[in-house]
Symmetry: D2
């Protein structure tokens, strides 16, 4: 794992964008999976004007790697795709045919569809202070899992997590979500993970120390042959360097 | 992980040789780590005449990935390099400067030396019926370990294993061995693992089933983005295919 | 350009097979274009038993790079595909859906179809004593040409060449042929060219000397970043080494 | 060849920087050759603050691809390295040991030194309105040339060109220059060429039309398997798109 320590959130986002654009510039089709959430907001703010209406990125295809349904509204985008649409796909005007949606209707074939598309070339990931990545929260999926469904009773906290994800509206609180598993993500050619802020300092230290433990899911990614962790100074504050 | 099921030991060896030669034919330097032991004997029998005195393989460098000293004879090759010398380096007449020896004098810098050499392009591995690979036996190293020293008291059976490795001669029974760790091997660009015979059928089934467990070390390798498992029919006999 | 000098036709063929198998063993789809004619007979004799009915090569797709119609019989395979079918596709029992035929009906879209398939990963080429490769004979195509139609009046000798190609039967003598052009072939990721026998010694020397001249078409390939020329001793007899 | 048409000089420079950073971000050593001159000024203005004092680019090595001596001052940098130092190496504070100087003392071993370093991963090139790239002016080097010395009498205009290159000072007017040849550049893994302004519209049209002619040297690069041409609207003004 290569660790890149940047000055601040701005530089963290910029370096992540450099990685994305480096993979996107290619003679042939590229498949990229990108993260929703708050950490990558800076990434998408920088990326949108560089990508919008650019014909030279027409060979780039995008994939989401997890999804949470709004209960009773399963006929529309879930939490992740709604967020990705707002942050990136919408403002960057990405053609619908280059967005490959993972949701509750097709998660069981996600891994084989990606394989048929030639595999993922890169994934941009965040990491939780508990060590989760994608929807792989501690004690939900196992290291060996491919794309999976995780039920609301998987852990004591999960029901609350899901309620929070749908904005606290009890009526929309889902019974499950779907996520690409640790094994799915390890098969991606290039992994790029971003983390910023003091509250990530602990998990960043764990990742750099190098122990691999199933109850800290992101530790599995540290031995990947092309893994880059990009952090700001606060997230790096517990590292000795 | 791609699983290749072959008819017999002969074909298993042949397909492994095809993978090796495919990586070795290149315009630029290639770094390959290869396994000692009994499983690869067929591989080296086929490989030696194809490689011996061939100038077109002069850019290929070789690395061993573990070593066991003969106690009291630490100034000569250990068990692994002696075996590799007999099976391959000697008969294939590989130049000494293209053989990069890992032993007890330099194991602490093995990972950084490999990184400085440009990384390993391929490793050929065997697997034990207990799920060990290289010197990563159950309950010796951890998933997150780089090249490590394992002491004779690491597990109850270890002293016996080491005695057996030096041919049962108590005087030469070593107190430790060194091995590239699970994390070291995961960073190799291409992993090829071979297994043959009924006694490997159980571990092969475990690897294909896909669970990743620290006490079955080889399961860590199954999510690697370029992992190939080559088995004969007997080793595949518990698979449903 | 890397030059591999082998002892004899047998070793030349073997080393070419090693290159082919090295590209064919992969986690993902591979696209390979292969040559017909007499030079590669040894290659296909070795390759057929290694490939026939092997499920582990099911992701490999094959392309021919030129074609000559039998006049009046344009509804069946031309000279090249007939030859490739007899030498390789038939005996190796390659599925029809993995054979991508270039002929007179579709040559104008050959380059864009290949691009849509992800590009060619490797091409196995022969070379004529006049420096031709594929159907790029001196003074027919230009260095900058993509897949092209060449008419029988392109050069003074062409009518005779075409008559000979269809076995001397005047009734079947075609008015043209089609071929991937020099520029099409240069865009392939890996080029492997084979040549054997005294009558190839002159062109081999020209290729190694390194001059690039449009009337010796194969000289264009010598600066390609991944070009390997495999020759036997006779074909290498004018080289100083 | 992939053609990227940008709005203006600013976007042309930005897209070239994206290509450079994409190659530079890597787990292993990368070797990059970069162009001097006026076209890339915008590239270096953007690149310097992104690269200066960034430890995460410490594995990137830089190479110049041509050099013109100041006559009588052969013990200091020539025209190209002086220019590169002013534009990039100086302001970006690149360590001296990561700058691999080509000059009159070592040009004969340039190609073999690059090969020993693992090959060039990328070259950033400009193009002249006459079709020259690096020091490969029409009728100086041949397509098949590796790194070469070109004398002042190579063409009628050369003496004037050299005088202009040293700022019009007759005393410093050199008798020759050195340049990586067309064959040297073709062997680079990734080629990126930039061109802007109306006066480049003619050569850009020639490159896109695709004819390959030795007296328009840059046309040789158009069939390279990973060639990208980045132009602004003015340089693209003769293209039909």
């Amino acid at each position: 794992m290569k660790v890149i320590i940047t000055e601040d959130y701005q530089e963290m986002s910029q370096v992540a964008v450099q990685h994305l654009l480096g993979v996107m510039h290619s003679q042939h089709r590229k498949n990229i999976s990108i993260t929703a959430g708050s950490t990558p907001k800076g990434v998408y703010e920088m990326l949108v004007p560089l990508v919008k209406n650019k014909k030279y990125f027409e060979h780039v295809h995008f994939y989401n790697f997890d999804e949470i349904p709004f209960k009773g509204e399963e006929d529309r985008y879930g939490v992740t795709m709604t967020n990705l649409h707002n942050l990136f796909f919408g403002p960057a005007e990405i053609d619908r045919e280059r967005i490959h949606v993972l949701d509750w209707t097709n998660y069981e074939t996600q891994d084989e569809r990606i394989k048929a598309d030639g595999g993922l070339d890169m994934v941009l990931l965040g990491v939780g202070s508990d060590g989760h990545f994608c929807g792989n929260l501690p004690n939900t999926t196992k290291f060996g899992d491919l794309t999976s469904r995780v039920n609301a009773n998987a852990t004591p906290e999960m029901a609350d997590v899901l309620l929070s994800e749908v904005g606290g509206d009890k009526e929309k609180q889902p019974d499950f979500y779907v996520t690409m598993g640790p094994k799915s993500i390890m098969q991606v050619k290039k992994l790029v993970m971003i983390a910023n802020g003091k509250k990530k300092a602990g998990i960043v230290k764990q990742l750099v120390d190098g122990t691999v433990m199933e109850n800290v899911p992101a530790t599995l990614l540290t031995p990947h042959p092309d893994m880059t962790l990009i952090v700001d100074k606060e997230a790096a504050s517990l590292l000795s360097y």
